[in-house]
């Protein structure tokens, strides 16, 4: 897998849609720098989940940072799950936050926060989807593609939790 830049794919049927702007009912967005050790944990999470989802209509996006145009993809989504690394907490500790739109917006409008993106989607299209943020606290953000032992050991449990959330949300949804 290319470990840099924006990667998008639809989990169903190995359809690599890096070149297709596909709007899906469920979005899984992992953001961070995969060349900065634990900051790349979100890409590992999304990679694991992509391999497990089978026929669920989930669009997986991996990127270095969030950008305002992502709000456009929220139009047709009922659920958005963000995955990010964190610096607060104990290394390897992961947290699950239910997000509300209209929260904190980052200082620079070309790199919004998850809550800022939801607020933007609500302003643009009148509604924002249900959204969750999973964070995994890292201990090393130096150059490198390997995770610290604490973060590596947290990977299975956070993947399982997100997978469960996606499967519950996707139950009964039509696949295209």
């Amino acid at each position: 897998m290319n470990r840099e830049g924006n990667q998008e794919s639809i989990a169903r049927g190995n359809r690599d849609s890096a070149t297709l702007e596909h709007h899906a009912p469920i979005l899984l967005i992992g953001y961070g720098n995969p060349l900065r050790a634990d900051d790349g944990i979100s890409w590992a999470v999304t990679g694991e989940i992509r391999a497990r989802l089978g026929a669920l209509p989930v669009k997986v996006i991996e990127c270095l940072q969030l950008y305002p145009e992502m709000a456009d993809q929220f139009r047709d989504a009922s659920l958005v799950v963000f995955v990010d690394a964190a610096v607060e907490g104990s290394p390897g500790e992961w947290r699950h936050h239910r997000l509300r739109s209209g929260g904190y917006i980052s200082a620079f409008s070309h790199s919004p926060t998850p809550a800022g993106l939801l607020a933007l989607a609500a302003d643009l299209y009148g509604a924002a989807p249900e959204a969750h943020l999973f964070t995994v606290c890292g201990s090393s953000f130096e150059y490198g593609a390997c995770f610290s032992p604490e973060v590596a050991s947290a990977l299975p449990s956070v993947v399982a939790e997100i997978e469960n959330l996606l499967r519950t949300a996707g139950r009964g949804m039509p696949v295209d």
């Binding site: 830049g5 145009e69 933007l120």
Partner: protein, 474 residues
């Protein structure tokens, strides 16, 4: 008593910058300087790298316009190989370059400048951002998001990634265009065209309320420079260099970009790391010129596509000679977006675009190569020298923001003299100082627009170093 007003920082992207305004005894601005305070050093640390790595390496210069560096670097490498790339590859590169112009111009217009244009220069800084635009005019906001996405999607479809794509390589491109991808892009064009035309209609009414800014925002006679193709149209991917003056008269024409050292000098000022290129025959600093959208529309006799040509004619009727106010960079950007969409459409309808021969191969045939193209902000030059093994021994880059350095400084002085008076600094006053820089859309402009708080810190200091007033982030 003379005073110094320092705006620091003005940026976090592509180097930090600050602005210094010096006032006289009467509180009038006497001088204005725009300082870029960080050295990036790409020209030095690429030395010793194989030339074929340069396109990918150079694209890392910028996260906003990586495609421009990618293409221009590849053109310099084409020159080292001494190859003429296959026609399909040249056309595909043209599409990628135009997509880059669309997404960058959309970012500049809708995300960075529309808050000022829609909400006004005196509006609450907490609202002067994309989110404020969306709340005040959702249709305009949606259009901006969709239009930028349109440009980025084309880059992703062709290059594999929205930011820092590969694909463009020395000798051509790495993969031919499929019918599926061509049709996907074609399918997106009607919406992009509609958004652009609506925005143009809105802006042409809106800018009537900015008469004072039009009159004072870097509105002065200067030369204009850019690539021209077919003797009359802006040459975004290729062409010959043309200089025109403020009356619209051609000063120099048909200049080979590869011979830029013959007509272009580069001056270094101790107060900034940004070089100041100038037109050599007029010397420094009288050889001041402007590049970018305003220059390109001033240099040409038409755009070369039907809808954009109509808009170009209307644009040029604003003044008898060249359009001189840098406020009209915004207008020119919209016209260029329109042209780029039309041109992409035409290129995709060309049967040659699906050609499968997209790369020319060769060994090193020249020890020197120069590439030039029009980036969103103006003419971009990459100049490399290599040894027998193809390792870079020397590199020089002239970037669009640099071409406009002298003009930005002059524009800054003009707008500061008009709006900055006395010892008290107001937010509207400072926003106009920022906005004149923003009109040129230097890469650093994106960090001058914060959501909820200003990204600048302005201090008014007397000669004794005492702080008289400050505005912005503490």
């Amino acid at each position: 008593m003379t005073r110094t007003i320092v705006i620091d920082p003005v940026t976090r992207l592509e180097g930090h910058a600050k602005i210094t305004l010096q006032t006289n005894e009467q509180g009038e601005v006497e001088s204005a300087r725009f300082h870029v305070t960080q050295l990036r050093g790409f020209e030095k640390f690429c030395e010793g790298r194989p030339f074929y790595e340069m396109p990918t390496l150079m694209s890392r210069i910028c996260g906003i316009c990586p495609v421009s560096h990618l293409i221009t670097s590849a053109k310099a490498c084409d020159a080292i190989l001494a190859v003429r790339i296959p026609p399909a590859a040249a056309k595909l590169r043209r599409i990628l370059n135009l997509a880059q112009i669309i997404q960058s111009h959309a970012l500049s217009f809708f995300y960075l400048s529309a808050p000022d244009l829609l909400l006004g220069m005196e509006a609450d800084p907490a609202d002067r951002n994309l989110f404020g635009v969306v709340r005040a005019n959702p249709e305009l906001g949606r259009g901006g998001v969709r239009l930028r996405q349109f440009g980025q999607q084309i880059i992703q479809i062709l290059g594999g990634k929205k930011i820092h794509p590969g694909w463009v390589i020395p000798g051509g491109v790495s993969e031919a265009l499929s019918i599926e991808k061509r049709d996907q892009i074609l399918g997106m064009i009607p919406e992009a065209l509609s958004i652009t035309q609506k925005t143009l209609r809105w802006f042409k009414i809106k800018f009537e309320s900015f008469r004072e800014e039009i009159r004072t925002f870097a509105n002065f006679p200067s030369l204009f420079m850019g690539l021209v193709t077919g003797t009359e149209r802006p040459g975004y991917y290729e062409g010959k260099i043309r200089f025109t003056d403020s009356t619209g008269k051609i000063v120099a024409d048909n200049l080979d970009p590869a011979k830029y050292p013959e007509f272009m000098g580069e001056e270094v000022e101790p107060s900034t790391f940004l070089k100041s290129p100038y037109y050599k025959p007029r010397g420094y600093p009288d050889g001041i010129y402007r590049v970018g959208p305003l220059a390109r529309l001033n240099l040409s006799e038409r755009c070369g596509t039907p809808l954009a040509d109509q808009e170009w004619a209307e644009f040029r009727s604003l003044e008898r000679g060249a359009v001189l106010s840098s406020f009209h960079y915004h207008y020119a950007r919209l016209i260029e977006i329109l042209h780029a969409i039309e041109r992409i459409h035409a290129l995709l309808e060309d049967s040659e675009i699906l050609g499968t021969q997209v790369r020319a191969s060769a060994s090193i045939n020249n020890e020197e190569g120069i590439g030039a193209s029009e980036a969103p902000r103006g003419t971009l030059f990459h100049h490399y020298r290599v040894n027998e093994q193809g390792l870079i021994t020397w590199a020089n880059l002239i970037i669009a923001t640099g071409h406009n350095n002298l003009a930005m400084n002059r524009g800054l002085l003009q707008v500061a003299r008009h709006y900055v008076h006395g010892e008290k600094l107001t937010d509207g006053m400072l926003n106009r100082v920022e906005a004149v820089i923003r009109a040129f859309d230097p890469c650093l402009s994106c960090s001058t627009h914060a959501a909820g708080q200003m990204a600048i810190h302005v201090r008014l200091i007397n000669p004794a170093g005492e702080l008289l007033d400050q505005v912005g982030r503490p």
